[in-house]
């Protein structure tokens, strides 16, 4: 699946997007955040405080306990500041 990052999540990770293949036991958004945080220093900095991170699966907001099994694209970003 594709992971994409926005705003300071993107800046800390150092990438706009990447292909990821989490292991089968990573089942929810929350577990994926923990798994991503272990990928390197940038990822660790980006995901240090999971409470400040929002996620969307295939362009729809999801909660931390949402399953990721069928996701093609999962996005991580800070709280939105539009308008």
């Amino acid at each position: 699946m594709k992971a994409i990052y926005f705003a300071w999540v993107r800046e800390r990770v150092g990438l706009s997007e990447e292909e990821i293949t989490p292991p089968r036991e990573v089942e929810t958004v929350r577990q994926l955040v923990d798994w991503l945080a272990a990928r390197g220093d940038g990822h660790a900095a980006a995901f240090a405080n999971p409470k400040t991170i929002r996620a969307a699966i295939d362009k729809t907001h999801v909660a931390p306990d949402a399953p990721i099994a069928n996701a093609r694209e999962i996005a991580f970003f800070p709280p939105m500041t539009g308008g």
Binding site: A7, W8, A56, K59, H61, A75, P79, T81, G82, G83
Partner: protein, 154 residues
């Protein structure tokens, strides 16, 4: 008659008068139009520009979702939402919501609802660039915006 909202996410500026005219021309049933314009503000004279990042595709989809929710909640005859991204300087326009209705209550409520949701749920992020060249970082989400959006929950 079903209303199809007009939604645009674009880098360029918009013309509020033209958008308003498109919602009202050649019809006699619109009694009230509320147009909200959000502008880039700089109170202490240190802001060079905002950089507005967005999630292409999701931004349009999410705005359409709110627009359809507004059309379910209020009796509207027309609805246009435009949100810019990219570099926006102080005094420039960022966002436009125009709601047309028979009665003013529907138009006011829909426009205010949509702005509260755009602030907290549409995937846009603002970064401030200072005139001294520094970057003062990403604008933090405000708890009062969350409170404003939560008024509409039911």
């Amino acid at each position: 008659m079903r209303v199809t909202p007009t939604i645009r996410v674009q880098a360029g500026d918009f013309d509020s008068a033209r958008e308003e005219a498109l919602l009202t021309q050649r019809r006699r049933d619109v009694g009230a139009v509320v147009a909200f314009t959000g502008l880039c503000r700089d109170e202490n004279g240190t802001l060079a520009a905002l950089e507005l990042e967005h999630y292409p595709g999701m931004a349009e989809e999410e705005i359409l979702r709110f627009a359809n929710e507004a059309l379910l909640r209020w009796r509207l005859l027309g609805l246009t939402i435009i949100h810019r991204y990219g570099v926006i300087r102080p005094g420039e326009r960022i966002v436009l919501v125009v709601a047309a209705a028979r009665h003013r209550g529907d138009a006011f409520a829909a426009a205010e609802f949509l702005m509260d949701y755009l602030k907290t749920r549409a995937p846009f992020w603002k970064k401030e660039r200072r005139i001294d060249g520094s970057d003062s970082g990403w604008v933090a989400a405000k708890s009062e915006d969350d409170a404003a959006a939560s008024r509409w929950e039911r």
